[in-house]
Every structure is written in C-alpha cells, then in structure tokens.
C-alpha cells in the first residue's frame, strides 16, 4: 500500500495507464509536475482538454483535424481525383512529410484484422466507397502497411472497388529502403525489390 496522498496516487495511476509508462516512470513524471509552477503544470491539463474537445475526424477523409473539412481536403490546389488510402493519421503525416504527394487522403482508422476482432465495419470503408460513388476519383493509391493484414485489407478494398471500373487502383512501391544495405535486407524485401525493379 502506497503512502502517497490520494491526489498524487490518482495522478500516478492515470499516467501509468499511458502506453510505455510503468509505475516507476509515472512516479517520476508526477513528482516532476509537482515541482513545476502551477501555471506550467496546468499547461499539460489544458493541452489534454483542448485536444479532447477540439480534435475530431474530418468528415471527408477521417484525418484528425480542428476544422472540418481538414486543411488537406479544403486545399483547392490538391488533386481531388487522386486518393491515397492509409491506415492511420500518422501514416498520412509520414507521407505528407515527403512533400511530394499532391493528392488527397482517406484514413481507414485501422486495417481488417479478424484475429484481433477488427472487422470491415470498424473501419471507414463505407465513406470511402461513397467518395468513389461521387465519380470525382480517378485513382486510389493503397498506402497500407505491407504486412499480411494490410495486404488483406488492400485486396478486400480492391474487390469492393471493382464496381467502379473508372477508378484505377495502385499501391505504393515496395523494396529496398533508400540508404540501406542489401546484405541486411530480409527475403521479403529483396523479393519485392526484384519483382518491382525499374528501368534505369
């Protein structure tokens, strides 16, 4: 039984529920917050409150946003006929960080993972099909993670999209990461790299 005051114990318990934080780390963070000036510590509380009250999903692409539609969907300079389907908002951010993609996105909010109980209805597949039904989309890029469940989800989407023959379905290229060494690449990566080789 801990001898901490109830409020400190409550804070530690809540911090310890965060991913990757155990009770020891929670204790350290709690005491760090206690040492801070009240206005500094309250910035954290305010930030948590703001993110939970202001952030929502874009009604078009399901990216996280403060305004609906999100800045990407509302950008008239973007190619609205090119949609990249990703699993999570953080995947969208990773693609945006390249600065090379000028189309729009659709965030599925997961992937079909029957073994984990994640089914088609848990994802934003229906809104994606509605976007395609509008007739504005000419190409969908599968930007899902290249693993068994990601590939399964992409194949499932491809089946559904076959009802829109005007929509081309492509996927992100696979193979060796830039800056890596061939000797460290696993069998899957090398097989993908060989089958997806490009003319120089």
């Amino acid at each position: 039984m801990s001898n901490y005051a109830q409020s400190i114990q409550d804070l530690m318990n809540e911090l310890a529920r965060l991913p990757g934080i155990g009770m020891r780390s929670a204790e350290r963070i709690a005491f760090h917050l206690l040492k801070q000036k009240p206005e500094e510590a309250m910035k954290l509380a305010t930030a948590i409150r703001d993110v939970k009250t202001r952030i929502r999903h874009c009604s078009i692409c399901y990216n996280l946003t403060e305004q609906d539609p999100c800045a990407i969907c509302a950008d008239a300079g973007r190619d609205q006929g090119l949609v990249c389907v990703v699993e999570q908002p953080k995947d969208l951010l990773a693609l945006e960080a390249t600065g090379l993609y000028r189309g729009v996105y659709h965030v599925l909010l997961g992937r079909i993972s029957p073994l984990e109980g994640v089914e088609e209805g848990d994802l934003t597949i229906e809104p994606l099909m509605q976007r395609l039904a509008s007739g504005q989309v000419r190409e969908v890029i599968m930007g899902l993670n290249p693993n068994l469940e990601g590939d399964g989800t992409a194949l499932h989407l491809q089946n559904l999209m076959s009802q829109y023959p005007q929509v081309a379905v492509t996927r992100l290229a696979r193979g060796l990461p830039a800056g890596s060494n061939i000797e460290y690449a696993n069998r899957n990566i090398l097989a993908d790299a060989i089958s997806g080789r490009q003319k120089m």
Binding site: P114, L115, D151, L155, P177, A185, N188, I189
Partner: protein, 264 residues
C-alpha cells in the same frame, strides 16, 4: 537462462510498442511458444535488424528464444526470416485461409506441446494456398489438425448409436453429438445439420489418404461448392467443442449450414 533454437511459424502478433512485438509462435520442436520480441522493428541506418525488421503473421523463420516452461512469455533473441509467403498475400482467399489456420492452431494446441508432423503439414500448406489447390489443401490440413489434436468428429458410424451410416442422398451431422448421425437418430437430435452425403464421404476419403510425401499431389481437386459446406460443418462442430466463436469463420465460410428443425 538457456536459449533454444527452433523453426517457427508466427500464428499471432501484437504490436506491443513502437518497436516491440508479442508473438505466438508455433515451433516445430517446442509447440506453441509466446515470445516478446523487444526492438523487433528497430533497424540501424544501414537496415540491420536482429529480427529482420519485425515478424509478420504466417512468417516462417529460425528463432532463438529463452525457454522456460514455467513462464508464459519467453524472450525472442534472434529471428531469421525463411519464408514470408509473398505469393499468398496476393490472394484474399489465401490470406483468410492462412489466418483461419493460425486461429485454429492457436486454439487447439496447448503451449509447449510439439506436433512436428502437424508443423510440417502447415509448412506445406501455406505456400499451396497461393495455388489453385488451396481449397483441398486447406481442408486436408484442417482434418489433420483435428486428428492430431484428438478433435476429429466421428464420420463413418453414427456418433449417437455407433451403427454404420447407410448411404443416402442427405446425411446429418450434430456438433453436440460429435459427428455424423444416422437416419434413425437424426429425428431426436436438436442441432442436426443436413449435408450432402457425398460431401461427408469426401471427408472420409481425405482422411484415408496416406500421410507421407507431398500432400498436394494426392488430393482430389475440390471447388468451394464442395469445401464451403464441409468447412462450415467443421467450424460449427469446433465452435461447440471449444465453447467459443471462431473469428475467421465469417471470412472463410460466407453462409454457414443451418440447423434442420426437429419435427414436433
């Protein structure tokens, strides 16, 4: 702690953190082993990784792990990928059948209970799922799994009265009774499922095939019209036996066999 080495196939994976995974592996010599792969996704800038960049479902590889049966979770220290089944990933049916096999294995096998022959059958089956023989290969594997784990339903004789089942157009199967049932008994069994008798005989034929050598060469060619009812029958039997639903069932068997109402 002593380290063990085994050829393993990944049946389940859980992304524990940004870089670590918790995996359920089927080892040829160790059976089901649950391991923590710390830093599985971590790579050096040159791409080096002690776990080949992370382990995916159905991957087969050479694993090195701590092995202490007293502990539920072992530590994976090395993984070298042998086979990632890229062909299988290009067919949705193959993806679902592969995951269904993984689900059945993780439900029917006990931890640390090795079944080398079953492992070899799984190793043969997974690449065959990418071919046009996927339906018969999967069904044959499913039957072998049930046989080796002691869950095979009674098929030749009535599971209720033990008398031989006479051939007729329609056969009956009862998950709660544990197998096929004869015309005399079917009237009194509430969960009877009607099935084409030829399909039930097909199951018996598959079970009588010799076990050595290549599995795929000896199997008769089957279509989903034949395998869907049989997979459905076995799934309903397993759900009753295990007392829980099968998550992949609706992906593998689109329309389960309905019960035949008992006349009152």
């Amino acid at each position: 702690m002593a380290l063990s080495r085994d050829t393993c196939i990944c049946l389940r994976k859980f992304e524990y953190s940004e870089t670590s995974q918790i995996l359920t592996l089927l080892g040829r010599e160790h059976g089901i082993v649950r391991v923590m792969a710390k830093g599985a996704h971590r790579r050096t800038k040159a791409g080096a990784s002690k776990f080949d960049g992370g382990i995916d479902l159905l991957d087969r590889g050479q694993a090195v792990f701590t092995f202490d049966p007293a502990r539920d979770l072992q530590t994976l220290t090395e993984w070298h990928l042998d086979e990632g089944h890229l062909e299988l990933r290009r067919n949705l049916r193959a993806v679902y059948l592969g995951q269904y096999a993984a689900e059945l294995l993780s439900l029917l096998l006990e931890n640390f209970d090795p079944h080398p022959a079953l492992f070899d059958r799984l190793e043969q089956m997974l690449p065959a799922l990418a071919t046009s023989q996927r339906e018969e290969v999967f069904l044959a594997f499913e039957l072998e799994l049930l046989r080796q784990t002691g869950h095979l339903p009674q098929l030749g004789d009535c599971a209720n009265c033990a008398r031989p089942i006479n051939s007729s157009a329609t056969a009956y199967f009862s998950p709660s009774t544990g197998g096929a049932i004869c015309r005399d008994c079917e009237m009194i069994i509430h969960d009877r499922l009607a099935i084409d008798a030829r399909l039930l005989r097909l199951l018996i034929t598959l079970l009588r095939l010799p076990h050595h050598g290549s599995m795929t060469q000896r199997l008769p060619r089957l279509t989903r019209h034949q395998t869907d009812p049989l997979n459905g029958l076995l799934a309903q039997y397993l759900q009753f036996t295990l007392g829980r639903g099968l998550r992949l069932m609706r992906y593998v068997i689109p329309s389960p066999i309905r019960r035949v109402p008992v006349a009152t």
